[in-house]
């Protein structure tokens, strides 16, 4: 069975921002986290997958179908949750749902009703009066009431309280109980993603920094507290990134895939301690700055 996503050499220019060239393969049967700073290209990537914008170069395959050639078929099989989608023109929640349901032969009305009650939204509510969080919930209901194969979620946890976030992740994990399905989710809540995602793709400045199994990623990188035994600049070593330095004291990001700890002492670096890192700590250490 074809991968959920296969991008080859995809580029997209938007003013000064350039996405790519991006190569990315996302398997089915699990949840993939797409993380990056604001403006890294997460939304641009997700939009391209749905045909909202065209790539300048490269090949995009979604569920084995080619975008843009098979755009209609892709839209039938993929659900996209995006905080920018507005249904205000339809007035009330119920009318918006009736409108959207007409496009999808796989729409399940009982499922839709169950989701509405789970997320605490009533058909009679005016869309314009919904909070930001409630609008995201409505977008989630529309996505999950269908029998889609791929669920794309762009910042779905923004504006959701703890209980609604729990419900969201429970629905996501329920969705991938069928192993031909896949979820791609971008979010700033990295602790949530560390817990529920099987794979992680980190993008920065329009480029893929790494793609990894989540558990391998947190085993691969560790934080070293170290002391520089020699005077002057820290020697450059593959797999060792200087994060901060105060005098002789160093904080280092250590990549077990590229280096061994016993290579540090001969380079004049004395290790004081080694600690494991969360996804958020690894992310910040790799791409720097605030997420």
């Amino acid at each position: 069975m074809a991968d959920a996503l296969a991008l080859k050499g995809v580029t997209r220019r938007l003013g000064k921002f350039v996405l790519g060239p991006l190569d990315l393969e996302v398997p089915r049967g699990g949840v993939t986290a797409l993380i990056g700073r604001n403006g890294a290209g997460k939304t641009t990537t997700l939009d391209l997958l749905m045909g909202m914008g065209r790539a300048d170069a490269g090949a995009i395959e979604v569920l084995g179908l080619a975008m843009p050639r098979d755009e209609v078929a892709i839209r039938q099989r993929v659900a996209y949750v995006n905080p920018d989608i507005s249904f205000q023109a339809w007035g009330k929640v119920g009318r918006a749902l009736d409108f959207v349901s007409g496009f999808y032969p796989d729409w399940s009305q009982p499922r839709c009703d169950a989701l509405l009650s789970a997320f605490g939204i009533a058909r009679g509510e005016r869309i314009a009066a919904l909070s930001f969080g409630a609008r995201i919930k409505l977008s989630l209901v529309m996505a999950l009431a269908r029998d889609a194969e791929l669920l794309l979620l762009d910042e779905p946890a923004v504006g959701l309280d703890v209980e609604a976030r729990r419900k969201l992740f429970s629905e996501i994990l329920d969705f991938v109980r069928r192993d031909d399905r896949a979820v791609v989710i971008s979010s700033h809540q990295l602790s949530d993603l560390e817990r529920v995602a099987d794979h992680v793709a980190i993008i920065d400045a329009g480029r893929l920094v790494l793609f990894s199994r989540m558990d391998r990623l947190v085993e691969r990188f560790t934080l070293l507290d170290a002391r520089l035994a020699t005077v002057g600049a820290m020697p450059s070593l593959d797999g060792v990134k200087l994060l901060t330095r105060e005098g002789e004291r160093l904080r280092l990001l250590f990549d077990r895939d590229c280096a061994r700890l016993d290579q540090l002492a001969p380079a004049g670096i004395e290790i004081l301690s080694e600690t494991s890192m969360t996804l958020e700590e690894i992310f910040v250490a790799l791409v720097g700055g605030e997420n």
Partner: protein, 128 residues
């Protein structure tokens, strides 16, 4: 075969010590050691347990792989995952080994601190 009751897993939390899959390994071992999961009892599928505990599929897969490697559970293609007949024995054996190792360490620490064998035996009696 025993009827499948709800698994009593404690809270699985990223804040608790150790990786999530190790917490799940410990929870399953605890259930078996306490006799709440008997030999031959089915475990939830990877996908069902992931949805129930709100953790990734890979976390559950990895926990099951580890339990299977240790001979505590086994899986049958298409049928599911079950508690091994010797699962409880394996856990008891590992527990005994751990206890013996802890006692050996206590004896080494005690001798290093100058305690006599009699002192050590008295200390152990106090613990008992």
């Amino acid at each position: 075969m025993t009827p499948r009751g709800p698994l009593r897993f404690g809270p699985i939390s990223p804040a608790a010590p150790g990786p999530l899959y190790e917490q799940i390994v410990s929870a399953v071992k605890r259930e078996i050691a306490a006799g709440r999961l008997l030999p031959g009892a089915p475990l939830p599928s990877v996908r069902a347990l992931a949805a129930e505990l709100l953790v990734s599929l890979i976390t559950i897969k990895r926990a099951y792989e580890e339990l299977e490697r240790d001979g505590i559970i086994y899986s049958r293609q298409g049928l599911g995952t079950f508690v091994a007949d010797t699962g409880a024995d394996e856990i008891a054996r590992a527990g005994l080994e751990q206890a013996r190792e802890s006692m050996a360490q206590a004896v080494r620490d005690g001798r290093a601190a100058g305690l006599s064998d009699k002192d050590l035996i008295d200390s152990l009696k106090k613990e008992l």
